[in-house]
């Protein structure tokens, strides 16, 4: 592609070629500068996580000494901030809410995409309206409900909160199911398959991308959520998830002693999430644009 383009541009007048070259050079400069601006906080985060000197901030960018202690301390000094415990909490909650929400989302989206019944349109409209309420408006009420059932500040309540309403986010996978040709279902039904068999044996095997997407997004949810967990957990430190725990490390009282550990803790969870996100960015784009992107 590139070579061909060069060849063509060489044939044109040199003045035009020069102008494109200068324009491209300017763009490279702009892109480089922007990349530096965008990556600076991330690089700074990583550098700070290896910093040897204590303190919240240093008046220089590059640390004077490098150490792995910040990472080691996260897992050894667990008296005040129990990072391994938070990690396990988040992991357990993520696994369970991922299983539950995947089932709910796939079931709902398949039903709305493929099955026709009287209540279909009204239910979809209700789902649309429910999606417009600010999520944590009801969160405070959920806290009271969980409390009256004795479930407040527990990990179970977190799973309920993350997965209970997940069916409302059925749009993206419905969009995917919409694109699977209906002729496949019809052929199977003529051969005597029930609708349940069509779902399990025909549609789901064809839907690996969207299943992966649903599983990954619902798995990531608990790792990056801050609001819901802070409303639900309040002061029960033992059941904190990573996000809330890390937030405690940089409050006014703790930031001086724990800032570098905060950075280390953030790096540890940011790496897997970054990898997962880059893997599924294609589906993410398709989901947001409603399939209007081709190729």
């Amino acid at each position: 592609m590139m070579d061909k383009y060069k060849f063509v541009s060489n044939k044109k007048t040199t003045g035009y070629g020069m102008r494109t070259k200068i324009a491209n050079a300017i763009i490279y400069v702009i892109l480089t500068v922007l990349s530096i601006i965008w990556l600076f906080p991330l690089v700074w985060l990583i550098l700070q996580s290896f910093r040897e000197e204590p303190g919240a901030y240093t008046p220089y960018i590059l640390p004077k000494g490098y150490t792995l202690n910040n990472y080691i301390k996260l897992f050894t000094e667990t008296k005040l901030f129990n990072y391994p415990r938070w990690f396990m909490n988040t992991f357990v909650v993520a696994i369970f809410s991922c299983i539950v929400s995947t089932l709910l989302v796939l079931g709902t989206s398949y039903t709305f995409s493929r099955l026709r019944f009287k209540a279909r349109k009204p239910m979809m409209n209700v789902a649309l309206i429910l999606g417009m309420f600010p999520g944590f408006m009801s969160m405070i009420a959920v806290y009271h409900i969980l409390k009256s059932f004795g479930l407040q500040q527990s990990l179970v309540s977190l799973v309920i909160v993350y997965s209970g309403g997940s069916a409302l986010g059925y749009y993206i996978s419905k969009g995917f199911f919409d694109t699977i040709p209906k002729a496949l279902d019809e052929a199977a039904i003529i051969d005597g398959a029930t609708k349940s068999q069509v779902f399990w044996k025909i549609t789901l095997p064809l839907s690996k991308p969207i299943i992966t997407y649903t599983v990954l997004t619902s798995f990531i949810g608990p790792w990056v959520d801050f609001i819901f967990v802070s409303v639900i957990m309040k002061d029960n430190y033992q059941n904190y998830t990573i996000a809330l725990g890390l937030y405690q490390m940089i409050t006014r009282e703790n930031i001086y002693n724990y800032f570098t550990q905060f950075c280390a803790g953030a790096v540890i969870i940011a790496i897997p999430i970054t990898i997962l996100f880059i893997m599924m960015q294609k589906y993410y784009v398709e989901g947001v644009t409603g399939g209007s992107v081709k190729g």
Partner: protein
């Protein structure tokens, strides 16, 4: 499968229900009193027993606890907790009163149960009557095993939707209703159950918010204006600059397109709370950015990124650009490639520069295609809790505002009022208003989105 359209005039449940009352035989009429009787006596034993069990359970629940909550719903409890001096032990004994919060909550739940019961009741009568009609027509009612089989075929939607519907009702609809009702009560710091009662106050909270309480309504007005300013700037700066970024990366002759894109996508991938908390620390008055700028001699006094009202507002919009531009870049890249190349070619021949081409071709095309996305972003920004709360915490605080700071949006104000101030009634009132604003914009977006209008085109 089994066809129950015995006669053509029986089409919907309502006619069936009233026909059962008018034309049904004795057994059918008795099943109005004993649920499931019609089914049990006509061969659908398991189904009938399930109906009966539901009836027994419902009566037990209502007579045990349900009635207490329902009857107190109109007052939210009459007797407050009080203390009695206990001579023997020389202490105060607390006599438990009504708990308004529990009454409201379980009142709502009981209303839901009653509504569900009405549906099940009608269903049980109809099912019994259907059996009668089938028998009269000389057919056999479906057996329980057939019913179960149908749940995986003809009625598969019921099977699939049961759990999602329960989940949504319990974790979304009931709490929402509970919260909406709270907006009409005086549930705040001075009316905290179990110690105190709260009660219905009608529209007083709305009146406070709009006019009668000068401090609250003043704060509301200023925060509402700032919320809109924020949403407009946050949405359009990201949209325009994200698109420009996508265009220059896509430009012919630029190498390593994937590399550049990944550079920016990295910042989306890192969890937002990490980057936002980090930014908040970096831009403190004594934070590293100020220190470095001072060392370089660019400024003599630290810039008050977060402690000066106007600065903080500009700062959150700028940081939001850092957060949001890669998103737009990622989303618009694909759409930009769909714009027909010959449009640009002919524009170039007509002597249009890149700016004119952008204004006359790219922008109109993109606006046309991405309007729903733009509106969703706008609504998202009205509700953008994360960026504001984690960056400035709504601050800097000011005494002119009622429990809010200068960068607070309606949603962060709502959060502060409920979580820090326990002013649930005012918080819920604001929530309802945020909903109304979001709903108007979302409905516009929904009606314009192509994927709704052309839902069936792929199938």
């Amino acid at each position: 499968m089994e066809d129950i359209n015995v006669s053509k005039d029986i089409t919907n449940g309502r006619t069936l229900f009233f026909n059962a009352l008018k034309k049904g035989n004795l057994v059918t009429k008795l099943s109005f009193i004993v649920m499931g009787l019609g089914c049990i006596l006509r061969g659908q034993i398991v189904k009938g027993l399930i109906f009966l069990a539901i009836q027994v359970g419902f009566i037990a629940y209502i007579s045990n606890t349900g009635w207490y909550y329902l009857s107190n719903l109109s007052t939210l409890g009459k007797s407050a907790q009080y203390k009695v001096w206990n001579e023997e032990l020389q202490i105060y004994d607390y006599i438990q009163g009504d708990n308004s919060m529990l009454i409201l909550l379980f009142g709502v739940i009981t209303v839901f149960i009653c509504l569900a019961m009405i549906v099940v009741y009608a269903k049980s009568v109809i099912e019994g009557y259907k059996c009668e009609l089938l028998r009269n027509a000389g057919k056999k009612p479906t057996t329980f095993i057939e019913d179960v089989k149908n749940l995986f075929d003809k009625n598969f939607h019921k099977t699939l939707l049961t759990l999602p519907v329960i989940g949504v009702v319990v974790t979304v609809i009931m709490p929402l209703l509970f919260m909406i009702l709270m907006a009409f009560t005086n549930f705040d710091k001075t009316h905290q159950p179990p110690g105190k009662l709260f009660t219905w106050v009608g529209l007083e909270n709305f009146r406070n918010l709009f006019s009668s309480d000068a401090k609250i309504s003043g704060t509301f007005g200023k925060i509402l204006i700032w919320t809109f300013i924020w949403a407009v700037f946050a949405t359009f700066t990201n949209y325009i600059f994200g698109m420009i970024l996508a265009i220059i990366i896509n430009k012919k002759g630029i190498k390593f397109k994937g590399f550049w894109r990944t550079m920016f996508v990295l910042t989306i991938a890192v969890p937002q709370f990490v980057t936002l908390m980090l930014m908040q620390r970096m831009f403190q008055d004594v934070g590293p950015v100020n220190i470095i700028l001072q060392r370089l001699g660019l400024i003599s006094e630290p810039i008050q990124f977060l402690t000066n009202g106007t600065n903080a507002r500009i700062f959150v919009i700028l940081v939001n650009m850092w957060v949001g531009i890669p998103y737009t870049m990622l989303i618009t890249s694909g759409i930009l490639m769909n714009i027909p190349e010959d449009l640009y070619e002919s524009a170039k021949i007509d002597g249009a520069g890149p700016v004119t081409a952008f204004m006359k071709i790219t922008l109109p095309y993109m606006l046309f295609v991405t309007t729903p996305y733009l509106i969703t972003q706008f609504v998202g920004n009205i509700n953008n809790f994360n960026v504001i709360y984690l960056l400035t915490g709504g601050g800097p605080a000011t005494l002119d505002y009622y429990q809010a700071g200068q960068t607070d949006l309606l949603v962060t104000w709502l959060y502060k009022l409920t979580v820090n101030e326990q002013n649930y009634s005012l918080g819920s009132t604001i929530g309802i208003i945020v909903f109304l604003i979001s709903a108007v914009f979302s409905l516009i977006a929904y009606n314009r989105s192509a994927s709704v209008q052309k839902e069936d085109t792929f199938q």
